[in-house]
């Protein structure tokens, strides 16, 4: 089992298999990241492909001592942000049909799946109402399981700023959810 960094170094030196292995490892995760907020599956897939193309183009910049995951995540986030800004729109909410069609159910689906899906839908809808900088922090912390220092590095922000964004975002999220529940 090669590490990401070993695969990237191998790709830089011209090993064609290494890039494929990296793609297999990260493409599904990046597609999940892209699909949060981008409704059209083709757009999300396009952005994943762009991410790997940019990774390939930047391979000579890669330093041996650098971690690959933050590199890849930063490329993906920058491309996603630019896509949303170019199309001048806020992230979109996945419709339940789209989410069901394009997703594999988790292996251990607890509780009532219908209720769970509806709840997820509500939270996703509330997430789209957050300001971009707060939503980004929450998504990375929550969905991508990244620590605050990792997120701070990724977003070029201080650790305290990231924590403040997370707490404000969480507070707003709760308010939005409460509004949805009451209405």
């Amino acid at each position: 089992m090669y590490t990401d960094e070993e695969l990237m170094i191998a790709h830089r030196t011209g090993d064609p298999q290494a890039f494929r292995l990296l793609f297999d490892r990260y493409a599904p995760l990046l597609l999940r990241l892209m699909k949060r907020g981008i409704h059209r599956a083709s757009d999300a897939q396009d952005l994943v492909q762009q991410t790997f193309l940019q990774l390939h183009r930047a391979r000579h910049d890669y330093r041996v001592d650098a971690l690959l995951r933050p590199w890849l995540m930063t490329i993906a986030l920058n491309l996603k942000r630019e896509f949303l800004r170019r199309s001048q729109r806020r992230p979109e909410i996945l419709t339940p049909e789209f989410a069901t069609e394009s997703a594999v159910e988790p292996p251990h689906a607890p509780y009532d799946p219908v209720e769970q899906r509806q709840q997820a839908q509500r939270v996703r809808a509330a997430l789209t109402l957050l300001p971009d900088n707060q939503r980004e922090v929450i998504e990375l912390h929550w969905f991508e399981d990244m620590s605050f220092p990792e997120i701070a590095d990724l977003l070029n922000a201080s650790l305290s700023a990231v924590k403040v964004r997370a707490h404000r975002g969480y507070k707003l999220l709760k308010e939005h959810l409460a509004d949805t529940a009451s209405s």
Binding site: R20, Q50, D61, A99, A120, R124, S147, N156, L177
Partner: protein
């Protein structure tokens, strides 16, 4: 004592616990479902084949944008710096010996520094975190207006200047300088286009501003006209003109973004 010390969490453990508790709290409030956000399915084989095809196509025209970022940056900067050096050596402005040295150094350095900043933003790799909103929006506008600010800066010591600012028509002088500015910045645009791995948001404005700064740097070393009207019309408007030209040409040039599916 030893036991007490070992039970005390380290700062990183404390941080981890805090983050964990925050995460747990969120999940309790909003439901565990989001922690199990499903992995989407797609035709990953087809997606990878398309990337491979694009990479193979790119290799046919020796992609300079695959060079290391420092190399790309230095190469793009050096196009303008070498041209400026050649002008200074072989065809400097006729009034160079009369022009105040401190002013010349100040203007050249200021234009050069901001040009370097613009090139850095143009060639900035995507694996670097995005610049702040303020930097993204202020830098290109400042780059566009900097030559105008410099043009309006009065030249106090030019009472002994041998070159009259009104030797020929203003319109002719303006056109000559604008054409010269456009021609002298063409190699920079060609280089920056070939070196860019992607076109960031505001690419045209940023490129126009960078070209305006480069052109003004070259004109500052070459053109002996010092009248405010000439400097405003013939030098300071160069960035705006280049922005306009790029906006017209942009749609005709192949885009570095490869759209795989659309």
């Amino acid at each position: 004592m030893k036991e007490k010390r070992s039970s005390k969490p380290t700062p990183s453990q404390q941080q981890h616990t805090q983050e964990g508790s925050l995460r747990e709290q969120w999940e309790q409030e909003c439901g565990p479902v989001l922690a199990q956000d499903p992995i989407p399915t797609a035709d990953f084989d087809r997606m990878f084949r398309q990337i491979e095809t694009t990479i193979q196509q790119e290799q046919t025209h020796s992609p300079w944008y695959e060079w290391g970022t420092h190399k790309r940056y230095m190469a793009t900067l050096s196009v303008v710096l070498v041209l400026a050096g050649l002008i200074l050596l072989f065809r400097p402005r006729a009034d160079l010996h009369l022009y105040p040295t401190y002013r010349m150094i100040f203007i050249v350095c200021l234009l050069g520094i901001f040009f370097a900043f613009h090139v850095w933003y143009l060639l900035r790799p995507l694996y670097k975190p995005a610049p702040s909103w303020l930097a993204q929006h202020l830098l290109p506008w400042f780059g566009l207006f900097l030559p105008l600010i410099l043009a309006l800066w009065p030249l106090a010591s030019h009472t002994t200047h041998s070159h009259s600012p009104h030797t020929s028509s203003i319109l002719k002088e303006t056109v000559v300088c604008l054409v010269l500015g456009c021609v002298s910045t063409a190699p920079f645009f060609w280089f920056s286009y070939r070196m860019a791995r992607h076109q960031p948001i505001g690419y045209l404005l940023l490129s126009g501003a960078a070209g305006g700064l480069a052109g003004n740097l070259i004109l500052q070393l070459f053109c002996p006209k010092f009248g405010t009207v000439h400097l405003v019309l013939g030098h300071a408007t160069l960035g705006f003109l280049l922005w306009l030209i790029l906006s017209i040409l942009h749609k005709r040039l192949p885009n570095r973004h490869s759209h795989f599916l659309s």
